[in-house]
């Protein structure tokens, strides 16, 4: 069992989201998808109300180059988003509303694709509806549930859990409380999950 902690605004979370299901399935490791919001954590931990990649342009420049390279390596569509980071609260609530649903991972991937392959505004419910449809999910009921008090509370609970795990960025893979930060640590996390499961 491996928990995948992702943030829809995060470029490296996109790469991880597109890779994780196949690579975990190959190793026989179950994945739990855990959306959370990085914004509140950055604000608390760094006093930052923007992406660290914007706050530090050098890291930003490297990240954009790296993403291009990683997407090529993993065969992923990539278009540098015209707005970064995008507001991801509604998208994260949609992921919560889909939790446990069969097409949940498909829908999560389509939302990531909207942001990073199609350069669409994932805070727009119409963009999210189109992404859900591409994943074979009827958008109406999901979008409605996404703004229910229960789902809002679920996302807050996930973000609280991320904080308690010591999370300070995205994506993360967690195996029995042990944190692996960064999409490039997926193989290590899978190995750890395989050893201990």
């Amino acid at each position: 069992m491996l928990d995948f902690w992702f943030e829809f605004a995060s470029t490296y979370s996109y790469v991880a989201a597109m890779r994780i299901e196949r690579e975990c399935a190959r190793a026989g490791v179950d994945v739990r998808w855990r959306p959370f919001l990085l914004g509140p954590l950055f604000a608390e931990q760094l006093g930052l109300h923007d992406s660290p990649f914007n706050a530090n342009p050098l890291r930003g420049r490297y990240m954009w180059r790296d993403l291009e390279r990683l997407c090529e390596k993993h065969g992923l569509d990539w278009r540098k988003p015209s707005v970064f980071p995008r507001h991801s609260v509604l998208a994260a609530r949609v992921a919560c509303a889909l939790s446990g649903k069969e097409r949940g991972p498909d829908a999560v991937r389509e939302i990531f694709r909207a942001n990073f392959a199609l350069d669409e505004d994932i805070s727009d419910p119409r963009v999210l509806a189109a992404a859900l449809r591409r994943a074979g999910v009827e958008p109406g009921p999901v979008l409605e549930r996404a703004v229910s008090p229960e789902v809002k509370q679920q996302l807050r609970a996930y973000t609280d859990e991320a904080r308690a795990l010591g999370i300070f960025g995205a994506p993360n893979f967690v195996v029995r409380g042990d944190l692996f930060f960064g999409q490039d640590r997926l193989a290590d996390a899978i190995e750890s999950a395989t050893l201990r499961d």
Copy 2:
């Protein structure tokens, strides 16, 4: 050809330094060892006069746990240094003084081991002398050359080159100007060097 940019105070540089020669040799990729100082870059880029791992305790906590895990994975000795980060100017000058020498990489590894496996103060010339001896290098002439104007200038030139490459952390692997940041990107860098060499 791959340039390995390392900083003796950097924990992840230790892991990279211990891995790089074997993994590059296996792929038939030549390595150029490039010591530089992160301190001036952190000061310029972040206004920071400490390690970012100290400035952000959460990242620090993760890093120490991660290092333990990485050293176990790669079969490396590890003792959490009682002082972090250690002053690395003299050690970096020693690496410059060894540049091109046959036992240079051995000596670099022994200096890293002094810091991260033996918990020794690598700003102390006696510690550096012992590390050089363990690498089969006569310390006297090297330590003398390390404080010559030529070697001091060489280290400044490397740090300038690191800045010009857009380096903002350590370790880095550079393949024809393309930067790979972090020890976990060694395989990607080697693959890139193999493809283009």
